[in-house]
């Protein structure tokens, strides 16, 4: 009997169910909204190689809308050895086309195309990138990256740049502004225990603990208990709010000693949350700085400074800001998140309490929705063609995340001195080896380095070496190798060292200051020696690989590229805001924070 009954309940909308099933394990991470962004996305990938294939593989599996891979290379023996998506029978075929064919197999919902043209030529054309949401450059030279950025920066299209060398990899990302609503950052629950809103106060006051028997008492949600106790404590101490950690600790010991039935679960929950949840309400400082952002200053009259894709974000932020500053609405507080965690309680009280928070939050959403509509109407007054709509559902998501909004802004790369470096490297390349001595280094001192670090340790050294390898390859035409010489007596190693010296101020100190300017003490020179030794090791290891792409490292870098791409496209989770390197010898990722990243 039973199986027949079951059959009747079969889901009829098979297709819808199938797409949900395919992406089920990731929709649980970035929700349907993130999946929808992925399905609408279009990614441009420059350079056919193992990193790009691995990155595309992950993006295709995740269900991006479409992608285009640009490269003119022909499948070689080396590609077959290191890239899983080409095999022997592909030898001699166009690499980008072959890769796209094999990668498209991974997901019938994704459209992939190839352009068989060298990346250098491709970027020389009038570039029309407006169709794509993201550009990924794998193992490209600085000239290509510079040209891509020149176009994408103004269109506000993010660019991810990645390269690998032996056991090392690096990744950078460029975008003027990336706004994140759903950062999924762990937050302290928003329960307003310090300053309960009216409905909450009324509810708490309606529960008289003295009239309850011990079983009932044990089922009062701890939030109710804490609101009562905090009020009592503040009256007792004659204070307005708990500011310092010490004050919160005293409150906790007050709770611990002031009750006779403290072994009940709800009481224990109250005590364990006492320090976390008793603080005076304040808007997080990063949200306050978003409220002061220049993008808000000209709304609603003018919004031409705001990237189109972020306009909605700033309009809603403006509405929330108005809500917060209004005495009748927010009165200095953000909209209520409206959810409460599970806690020991009987069903009735828990649901009542949950409803109070939910109802208040819904009310706040309504107000902010109305403010938003007013702002939209105001913008329309100044610009008749403006017809953006913001549904209530989006306001709801915003309000739920209003204490964790994030704006990532990077400064524009200028590249003005890159040609000087390229010219200088070329000069050195042509130099008579007899003239190669330490005076070379001094002759470079008048050129400003690109990079300068407050803290120069092994991750920064690795970063500089990898940057230098890219410039070496670009200017000299091949990847530097151990025991290889540019000419008799002029080793690749020396050249690579000179490039590091050229681009990084700390490198200059490393090689010269210790015996010249500084009258160094012992520990300082020991540090210096250690760093110099580290630099030598990284140089040696990089030269060892001669540009060889290790599959495992390419797969790791392809993995992080796709991860950041997905975060950028879905606007869920927080992207990196600094360049990153991966050291495959120690298995560590490092974020690199140079003082100046501008190519001034």
């Amino acid at each position: 009997m039973m199986p027949v009954m079951k059959k009747m309940k079969q889901d009829t909308s098979e297709d819808r169910h199938n797409t949900i099933s395919r992406y089920d394990r990731q929709i649980r991470i970035w929700n349907s909204s993130g999946q929808q962004c992925l399905e609408n996305s279009n990614v441009l990938v420059l350079g056919a190689n193992t990193i790009s294939s691995e990155a595309i593989k992950n993006l295709v599996l995740s269900g991006i809308g479409s992608y285009t891979l640009v490269d003119s290379k022909i499948v070689s023996k080396k590609d077959i050895e290191g890239n899983f998506f080409v095999c022997n029978k592909d030898l001699g075929r166009p690499l980008s086309k072959t890769l796209v064919e094999n990668l498209n197999e991974l997901n019938p919902h994704v459209r992939g195309a190839s352009i068989i043209q060298s990346v250098d030529e491709f970027v020389l054309k009038e570039l029309n990138f407006s169709e794509c949401n993201l550009v990924i450059c794998c193992n490209q030279n600085t000239e290509v990256i510079q040209k891509v950025n020149a176009v994408c920066w103004d269109l506000s299209i993010p660019v991810i740049v990645c390269s690998a060398n032996g056991f090392f990899g690096s990744m950078k990302y460029y975008a003027a502004q990336h706004c994140i609503v759903e950062g999924h950052i762990e937050q302290i629950e928003d329960m307003r225990i310090d300053e309960p809103f009216e409905e909450l106060t009324n509810y708490v006051d309606s529960i008289s603990l003295d009239s309850l028997n011990s079983i009932e008492k044990a089922h009062v949600p701890y939030v109710v208990l804490m609101i009562k106790k905090l009020k009592e404590y503040k009256n007792l101490e004659g204070i307005e709010a708990l500011d310092s950690f010490q004050e919160k600790k005293s409150f906790k010991s007050f709770l611990e000693t002031s009750t006779s039935w403290s072994d009940e679960e709800n009481y224990l929950e109250m005590i364990s949350n006492a320090i976390r949840l008793s603080s005076k309400y304040s808007i997080p400082s990063h949200i306050q700085s978003i409220f002061c952002h220049s993008c808000l200053s000209n709304l609603p009259q003018d919004f031409c400074d705001i990237p189109v894709k972020n306009l909605k974000f700033w309009i809603i932020v403006k509405a929330i800001k108005e809500f917060v500053s209004s005495e009748v609405y927010g009165n200095g507080k953000l909209p209520l998140i409206g959810t409460i965690p599970d806690m020991k309680a009987d069903t009735k009280r828990y649901i009542e309490l949950q409803e109070i928070y939910k109802k208040k939050a819904k009310h706040h959403i309504d107000i902010i929705y109305q403010i938003t509509q007013k702002i939209l109407a105001d913008i329309k007054c100044f610009n008749v063609y403006f017809n953006m709509k913001i549904p209530r559902e989006e306001i709801k998501i915003f309000c739920k995340n209003s204490n964790q909004l994030k704006v990532i802004e990077l400064s524009r790369p200028k590249y003005t001195s890159l040609p000087i470096y390229r010219a200088k490297i070329h000069d050195l390349y042509c130099l008579d080896p007899k003239k190669l001595d330490s005076s070379i280094f001094e002759s470079l001192n008048h050129i400003n380095p690109i990079y300068n670090f407050d803290d120069f340790q092994s991750p920064e050294i690795l970063f500089i070496v990898l940057e230098a390898v890219v410039l070496f390859k670009e200017c000299i035409g091949y990847y530097p190798g151990q025991d290889c010489t540019i000419r008799d007596g002029f080793k690749d190693k020396d050249m690579l060292n000179i490039i590091c010296y050229l681009i990084c101020e700390n490198w200059r100190n490393l090689y010269f200051s210790s015996n010249q300017t500084r009258s160094s003490n012992d520990s300082e020179s020991a540090d210096q020696n250690y760093l110099k030794n580290t630099a030598d090791n990284f140089l040696a290891e990089t030269l060892r690989s001669r540009g060889a792409q290790l599959h495992s490292i390419a797969a790791i870098m392809g993995g992080v590229v796709s991860q950041e791409a997905i975060k950028l496209i879905t606007r869920h989770y927080v992207t990196i805001d600094l360049p990153a390197v991966f050291d495959g010898i120690t298995s560590k990722f490092h974020l690199i924070n140079p003082k100046r990243l501008n190519y001034d």
């Binding site: 079951k6 059959k7 949950q354 495992s552 797969a555 990196i576 010898i585």
Partner: protein, 409 residues
């Protein structure tokens, strides 16, 4: 790749370059356990890094929800065996037989391997691996120590680690670091449900057995899931609880761990990166744990996880527990099942307390289940716990907790 075998390493001066290393890597017998999200990536990375003698084991079949990350499978493969399909795909791509799918074999079979790489998602499977390869170690013969490289992911987070069985920390040494299935107390779900999850648990743990008896919920059958959904919703309406939908029911019933392609790719590649360094010696390998966090920026943390001397797989296997003396044996067994992640534990002191097998002995012990602990042994006694998931027994010291004083007003 070869260039790293024939040149010196600045980071490991002891490495002796040798052109034969390439062959040695190719011939290294590697066992890959799991052909899922991590396993598919591990197999690809191994062959692309020159490994040619790989066995893969996985009992599962391919499902649609695997296809967002398990890239060796296509829509037409749904329902086929993972290990067989994955091996066939890799072999056809490489053009030679590098990967052999295998079924579970006896202990002797596993001695032939030089390296094990795991991409597993359950504590039980990990425990089996730890137990098996620690058991193979003969202290007199160093070749019996087979290194295990283990990867794991959850959403944007993951870890890769190297276990040298009996020498360094095993899976169980850190079992506190793995999250196990979330369970809800029966009294909460039946008396004071508050969350949608409570209602789903109630429907599956209380209502389902009432309706269908011994028959288990088949979480792969949409009709079964819908039955739970319907009953959970009905139950929740009584209390005004909202927020139950198909996806949540599935998540709770299957204990679904979110999984994405990018994290699997990163962790699997990190595992194989360690494998190359370990097998070839061309650079130092990880000692012994790398934690990866990709949800906020990009973060990794490497550290040496120390061996836990009290680990019940590789250590002295001692543990203690404090519990009220009136606890019934039946409840006690549930508690230790939960605490040590056991399946069907048997308990002995100097006499049999409860034995799962043979059936005659089980029958004889069964009345004990209803007894309170103090009727069976004394406070401070040691109970030997054995279970199919353990390679050795746990010596568990049981102390009777002081009963809370009721005299306070």
């Amino acid at each position: 790749m070869e260039v790293f075998y024939t040149t010196k390493s600045a980071f490991d001066p002891d490495f002796a370059p040798d052109k034969n290393i390439k062959d040695q890597v190719a011939k290294t017998r590697v066992l890959v356990i799991g052909a899922g999200g991590l396993g598919c990536e591990i197999l690809k990375n191994l062959v692309m890094n020159g490994f040619r003698a790989i066995d893969v084991i996985d009992m599962d079949t391919i499902e649609l929800s695997n296809l967002n990350r398990q890239f060796l499978f296509r829509d037409v493969d749904i329902g086929k065996a993972k290990a067989i399909t994955a091996a066939a795909f890799v072999n056809s791509r490489v053009g030679e037989v590098c990967v052999t799918p295998i079924q579970d074999k006896d202990k002797q079979f596993y001695r032939q391997f030089n390296l094990v790489i795991c991409g597993l998602d359950s504590i039980e499977a990990r425990r089996w691996v730890s137990g098996m390869f620690i058991d193979l170690v003969d202290d007199q013969d160093p070749t019996t120590m087979i290194p295990i490289i283990d990867g794991g992911t959850e959403g944007f987070r993951g870890q890769s680690r190297i276990i040298l069985p009996s020498l360094s920390a095993c899976h169980e040494c850190s079992s506190g670091m793995h999250s196990s299935k979330k369970t809800y107390p029966i009294c909460t779900i039946s008396n004071t449900p508050r969350l949608p999850e409570h209602c789903i648990e109630y429907a599956s743990v209380i209502l389902w057995p009432k309706e269908f008896g011994e028959q288990k919920v088949d979480t792969d059958n949409i009709a079964d899931i819908n039955w739970i959904l319907e009953n959970a919703v009905n139950y929740s309406k009584k209390f005004g609880i909202s927020g139950i939908d198909f996806s949540l029911v599935l998540g709770v019933l299957k204990n679904i761990v979110p999984a994405i392609a990018s994290t699997n790719a990163i962790i699997a590649a990190s595992c194989v990166n360690e494998a190359i360094k370990l097998v070839s010696g061309c650079n130092p390998f990880l000692d012994n744990y790398m934690l990866y966090v990709g949800d906020t920026g990009l973060y990794s943390h490497t550290f040496t996880l120390e061996k836990n001397p009290d680990c019940f797989v590789c250590g002295n296997a001692k543990a203690s527990i404090e519990i009220p003396k009136s606890t019934k044996l039946e409840e006690f067994i549930e508690i230790i099942k939960d605490r040590f992640q056991l399946k069907k534990p048997s308990l002995r002191t100097d006499k049999n307390i409860y034995m799962q097998a043979p059936p005659t002995l089980e029958l004889k012990c069964r009345p004990n289940l209803e007894k309170a602990l103090f009727e069976l042994f004394e406070s401070g006694n040691s109970v030997t716990v054995t279970d199919s998931t353990l390679t050795t027994s746990i010596l568990l010291t049981v102390d009777f907790a002081q009963v809370r004083s009721q005299t306070n007003p």
